[in-house]
């Protein structure tokens, strides 16, 4: 790959995640963009392509944000890819730079989600006075709750339990998954930008409100407000910038997006495994690294039950060995492969469209040595992963600048 094909993150930002009652979606996204531009040392005048996403926003969020921070007439892409929206925006900007259509690109993901409650699973309306088959399944009434569940906590609970069926586990699933949540809530105590920063004991987690067994409330991703943005640049342009900009730039060694290939059962219960495994495989090949080289991983723990399967999908452990891998302590911040040192979606929070870039931001903090009290010492290589149900998977492998 020639230098001009290299892609670098020049500037990146994440707002505090939580409840921003005094800011609307545009305010939050604009704050992230201004911070990312300042971090990069460039202005909107330099940006040649812009991609943005906000799942809960009607209309073109990219143009709304341009009106708030700078309208220069550049191509603006509004992207929507479920929980992988932020990573998709990031990848859209990267593809434009790789194609040579721009030297600098900007990506932003933003969401106002505080107090949103249960996602998916619509309120059940009253049954019709006369049973009439409707929809693709000819259902005579609402299906959710009558033929399985459409709620996210329930879908991802089944994804975690399925792993324990395929790789039989002697212990109590509830306790195993609660321990994963305990780790992430513990990690978030060191992250001032997390929505929740209090440690939770195993007893507290297991004793909290049950949502969908084995996921209690703190084992579910935290709905909150937040935004993240990143400025990317090609290698040739980076070489013309200051030594300080070059030193802080983070190399995008791999940028991958996959969708779910057809397999038996994938249209019955979403399969988040194969597309993640495919994305990881492609990412490791593109970056020329292996999972054992990673100093930290931010993965899509939208529920405690999801984190377990992704240890295996990202090949952080032996096939089928996710439980032993977790029980070894490997994924705590003191372990061999720290996972979700930010606190993860369960504690840092999950403002949907922001998450893909926020995960990249977290990894960049450590690669730049700017992680503060939660710095993973000497981090040189990290991986950021997100899943959008439906499904889409984004994986970015990030590398510390050599200089």
């Amino acid at each position: 790959m020639s230098a001009s094909d290299d892609i670098w993150i020049l500037g990146i930002s994440m707002t505090k995640f939580g409840k921003h009652t005094d800011k609307d979606t545009v305010d939050l996204g604009a704050e992230a963009i201004q911070d990312a531009l300042a971090d990069a040392g460039v202005t909107m005048r330099d940006i040649g392509v812009f991609a943005a996403g906000s799942l809960m926003t009607q209309g073109g969020i990219a143009q709304m944000l341009q009106k708030q921070v700078g309208q220069t007439g550049i191509p603006a892409y509004n992207v929507s890819n479920a929980c992988a929206t932020g990573a998709t925006a990031q990848r859209t900007a990267i593809m434009a730079i790789k194609a040579g259509e721009a030297d600098y690109g900007l990506a932003c993901g933003v969401e106002k989600l505080a107090g949103a409650g249960l996602l998916a699973g619509a309120n059940r309306s009253a049954d019709n006075p006369t049973w009439t088959p409707k929809g693709r399944f000819g259902a005579v009434a609402a299906v959710d709750g009558r033929i399985g569940t459409e709620t996210m906590p329930g879908v991802f609970a089944q994804i975690g339990m399925e792993y324990l069926h395929e790789h039989p586990y002697d212990g109590t699933p509830f306790e195993l998954f609660a321990k994963i949540s305990e780790k992430n809530h513990s990690h978030s105590t060191l992250n001032p930008r997390a929505a929740y920063t209090k440690a939770m004991s195993l007893e507290q987690i297991m004793g909290d409100v049950m949502i969908a067994y084995p996921n209690t409330r703190p084992m579910c991703s935290a709905n909150c407000d937040g935004a993240a943005a990143a400025v990317v640049v090609n290698g040739a342009t980076l070489k013309t910038l200051s030594l300080e900009q070059q030193r802080r730039a983070v190399k995008v060694s791999a940028s991958i997006l996959t969708s779910d290939p057809y397999e038996e059962a994938c249209q019955v219960l979403p399969n988040v495994n194969t597309l993640t495994r495919n994305a990881a495989q492609q990412a490791y090949e593109q970056a020329g690294v292996g999972p054992g080289d990673l100093d930290l991983v931010e993965l899509h723990d939208c529920f405690a039950t999801a984190e377990l399967v992704h240890y295996d999908n990202l090949m952080l452990c032996e096939p089928g060995g996710a439980v032993d891998f977790f029980n070894s302590g490997a994924t705590w911040r003191t372990g061999s492969t720290p996972v979700n040192v930010s606190g993860g979606l369960q504690s840092k929070g999950h403002p949907i469209a922001a998450t893909g870039i926020a995960n990249i931001w977290e990894v960049c903090q450590h690669l730049r040595g700017e992680g503060g009290p939660r710095q993973i010492e000497g981090a040189k290589l990290g991986l950021a992963h997100v899943i959008g149900l439906g499904s889409a998977c984004g994986v970015h492998v990030l590398e510390k600048a050599a200089a």
């Binding site: 059940r124 019709n128 088959p133 259902a139 009558r146 033929i147 049950m210 969908a212 059962a265 249209q267």
Partner: protein
Amino acid sequence: MTDTQSPAQIPFVDYLVLDDGDPHLVANECTGCGARFFDRRNACAGCFGTEFGSVDVATEGVLRSYTIVSFAAPGVDVPFVAGVVDCDGTSVRGNVVGCPPDPDHIKLGMPVKLTTFPIGTDEAGTAAINFGFEPA
């Protein structure tokens, strides 16, 4: 019409068959690769073939995965057990019924079989019949 006629009934979904032997599910099967779908496809998601036939799905299987939903959208009765059943190679989504909704009674890999039950009667007196899986 006579008073002895059995009350009218309608399947809850169109892939549940009530009037052809024992109640069972049917799927659209790709004649090319055997992939099965519970609703229509323009082409097979696996091999892109466009020929499909109708096949009966096995009524017994094993529980591949489950969750006990305690918190759902307003109007949905909780708790209930949602699961995925491997019916002799065809995965089916459905509720697990006929046993208490707690992890002491629901086990991964447990054998289950299809069962049907009315979910209500409309103004015309027609009963809607749904399916679920009960311990075999």
